[in-house]
């Protein structure tokens, strides 16, 4: 018997799943940044915030499950779609002159995998600190101290800052493009989509870059 057409069979459906999972991850990145900015308020506030997150098990595991599902969906859809498209033009152009596309749009398939490796490193920073960072003291309760000591290592700071620039590019294209993908288009607000996406991408980038730089220049001092 012939199979029925499902959402995930089509490129339009796969792209919609990519957009929705991307939106979830975008929301997380925003919350992650706002939460982390509390590091500017000192060790008590920051460690208290960390303890609250860790202490709320339904919130912690709920978030972890939703994020894991979103990350897996986002990656599987992206890999499947890229696989299709790489076969769609077996003989390329000798000369191709793009007219309107953006740097962010063209580099999505580069910024995506690079961000994946960065996120893997970022998680290893907490789960296997010795492996990820080498000689570095990691405390499971004093998150503030971890924060400061990790970002006093120059290559760690550099890596995080570069990753945030990639994240900004990825979020910019993703944030305005997901409206088009989900069919949310209207002449009244279409012109503002790119601007709003730029503002959000820049905010997230600026917030996330400010923290390691603040450690580096001493605005966020070591505790005690």
């Amino acid at each position: 018997m012939q199979k029925a057409l499902t959402l995930a069979d089509s490129t339009v459906g796969k792209k919609a799943l990519l957009a929705v999972s991307g939106l979830v991850l975008f929301g997380f990145v925003l919350g992650h940044m706002v939460g982390n900015l509390q590091v500017f308020l000192g060790p008590e506030v920051f460690n208290g915030y960390a303890a609250t997150l860790k202490g709320n098990l339904p919130l912690l595991w709920g978030t972890r499950i939703v994020l894991s599902v979103s990350v897996v969906t986002h990656i599987v859809m992206a890999v499947q779609l890229m696989g299709r498209s790489s076969k769609a033009r077996p003989v390329g152009y000798r000369k191709k002159d793009n007219a309107v596309t953006s740097y962010a749009a063209i580099t999505m398939k580069l910024s995506g995998p690079l961000l994946f490796f960065y996120i893997a490193f970022h998680i290893a920073h907490f789960t296997a600190p010795g492996l990820a960072l080498g000689n570095y003291e990691h405390s499971t309760t004093d998150v503030y101290a971890n924060f400061v000591s990790a970002f006093t290592i120059p290559w760690v700071t550099a890596l995080y800052v570069i990753a945030q620039l990639l994240l900004g590019l990825h979020l910019y294209h993703g944030a305005w493009s997901l409206f088009q993908t989900l069919g949310l288009s209207h002449p009244r607000y279409d012109g503002k989509k790119r601007l709003v996406a730029q503002v959000f991408a820049l905010l997230i980038m600026a917030g996330n870059v400010a923290m390691p730089i603040a450690v580096l220049v001493g605005v966020i001092p070591p505790a005690g």
């Binding site: 959402l7 089509s10 769609a88 033009r89 000798r94 191709k96 002159d97 993908t181």
Partner: protein, 260 residues
């Protein structure tokens, strides 16, 4: 009358199974009033006189409406001028001594038949999958019998301007046929006559578009920039919206289409 001389780098491929390659030609004494195709005609006459195989390219109406004359000129489908087919591109757009790269549409779903001629029958199969209305075909009905808002008829008409030339696929970094399919859906679905079959049509045509092996849309909007009729990517958003809605709300399933 001013004339120019050009160096052409033209893709030559004797048949579907020939790997093909670029060959250089000199186009001498080309009138700036000539169209791009007339320039190729001049080159071909010389080739024929020398006993060489002329450059094969598609053309029919030569007035910008049939959609046959597709070729990528210096990296842009139909050449550098916006909203212009290759036949309407004039040589005054080029300077004396210019180098011109001429390539066929590049897509797995548009196999090269010869030189610059590609097989675009994948587009026909997308239309055949659902790009029609099961209309009553009796005597003509009275005009204005069905009220249609001006806005809807304008939008449908703009979508109907698609000539199916394939420049959207050629321009797309993913060789996606989203703009073509979206235009062919919208010019029917926006009108009351096309609305009843809308949910089946969008699912069938999107499914056929995928089965033909075109890539997916990643919102570069190169298609809109290359479209000789300036068709908007808003129709792609509409296709996405209608498809997702149909997949979620349609009461009947449709079979999954596989590449034949």
């Amino acid at each position: 009358m001013s004339t120019i001389n050009l160096t052409l780098h033209v893709w030559r491929q004797s048949g579907p199974n020939d790997p093909g390659g670029f060959k250089d030609y000199q186009a001498k004494g080309i009138s700036t009033h000539a169209s791009f195709l007339e320039m190729l005609d001049v080159v071909n006459e010389e080739l024929a006189a020398r006993g060489e195989e002329p450059i094969a390219f598609d053309h029919d109406c030569r007035e910008g409406i049939c959609g046959m004359c597709g070729m990528v000129v210096n990296g842009r489908p139909h050449g550098p001028q916006v909203e212009t087919t290759t036949c309407q591109l004039h040589m005054r757009q080029f300077k004396d001594g210019d180098e011109v790269w001429i390539e066929p549409w590049r897509a797995r779903s548009f196999p090269v038949i010869k030189d610059l001629v590609v097989d675009r029958s994948a587009f026909d199969r997308i239309i055949a999958a659902g790009g029609y209305i099961s209309a009553r075909t009796g005597s003509p009905r009275d005009a204005n019998e069905i009220p249609i808002p001006k806005e809807a008829s304008d939008l449908a008409f703009e979508a109907a301007a698609c000539i199916g030339c394939g420049a959207c696929v050629a321009a797309c970094p993913n060789a996606s046929a989203a703009l073509f399919t979206a235009a062919k859906l919208a010019h029917l679905s926006l009108l009351p006559q096309g609305e009843p079959e809308q949910q089946d049509r969008v699912r069938k045509m999107v499914s056929q578009m995928d089965a033909e092996g075109f890539g997916h849309c990643t919102n570069h909007f190169e298609c809109m920039a290359a479209c000789p009729k300036g068709i908007s990517v808003d129709y792609i958003a509409k296709m996405n919206r209608d498809f997702l809605k149909a997949m979620i709300t349609a009461r009947t399933d449709l079979p999954k289409r596989e590449k034949q």
